[in-house]
Symmetry: C2
Subunit: 190 residues, 2 copies
């Protein structure tokens, strides 16, 4: 998606160690119009998968998932990393490694909002190692729901996350697949 | 705002101790179309305050802030509760009591995205004690920015947060001001 790629080229920063900083428009400051356009494009790509619900993980998945949900007119559930007091005792919980925290974090969903028979479209900001998304897949499976697609804004293709998701046999889309980060040079896959 | 009030009456749950559970459409599962409508209404109410930026706190402020930002065509900054590795060493940081965690949490903003001279509209999901919003006000002030309005989806008027914000002398709007929670009965202010 040209709009997102151009923004990354203009404002993204390679911090080294494979870290691409996009805090100015995705992760800390968010550009709602860019997110709306990304949501529209993800909705277009997944228009035919028959999703009934969008699933993401807090925190930075919320903006792209919300905008995709708006365009597909579907509810969005975001997995919590800490169980709030409003959640029932019985929950779906899995552990996933956090690349920014260097430790495992919990991903928690209330059974109230993810049920058997649902067709789940997973949306997140980044596809890197795929570990967070695989955590969401496990939560969907334990709820008896079916994952029907996986969409992200940015894919760090050099972290091979896609290979860990392909066995699921569902469409995987990323709007800006980054081939390499080299000094000031960010290159996208064709 | 009628649409939001009706949804709260239909699906909100009084959990006791002043806790109103709205996890089915605001806090864990989000209804993007409802959020879009709430964002449009908040944008309408604050159309004339001359805001240059929207400020909120992760996590549950993101959805209403993002939709308000979309309608006002303004960037949205969400204060982080944990400093990510992409953030510079020097940050704006304050502490605010969390009503759901029973302890103080950090609110952190990078100086990259909140600068002197900005006119800040604060948007959050709940106005309860006002403590989180006052934390955001302190962050704006220390950045040299000016708060020009405060908008929330739900106000628990019985927690008196509005009184702590009124000395700021800026417009305060809530789309669903709850007067009382009594068993199954949720009452709104006129």
């Amino acid at each position: 998606m040209q709009l997102l790629k151009e923004r990354i080229l203009r404002e993204g920063k390679n911090l080294g160690n494979g870290i691409l900083k996009v805090d100015g428009f995705i992760n800390h400051q968010v550009d709602p119009l860019l997110m709306d356009a990304c949501g529209a494009e993800l909705a277009r790509r997944f228009a035919r998968v028959g999703a009934t619900k969008i699933l993401t993980a807090e925190i930075s998945g919320i903006a792209p998932a919300l905008m995709t949900g708006k365009h597909l007119r579907l509810p969005v559930v975001y997995a919590r990393k800490h169980k709030p007091i409003t959640m029932p005792d019985q929950v779906f919980l899995t552990l996933a490694p956090s690349h920014t925290k260097g430790r495992m974090v919990e991903l928690i969903i209330s059974p109230e909002y993810l049920q058997g028979g649902e067709r789940v479209l997973i949306i997140d900001d980044f596809l890197a190692s795929g570990a967070t998304i695989l955590g969401l897949v496990r939560l969907a499976e334990v709820a008896g729901a079916q994952v029907v697609g996986i969409g992200t804004l940015v894919e760090k293709t050099f972290e091979q996350g896609r290979a860990s998701l392909e066995p699921l046999g569902v469409p995987i889309e990323s709007l800006a697949p980054v081939a390499s980060l080299d000094g000031d040079r960010i290159t996208f896959l064709e």
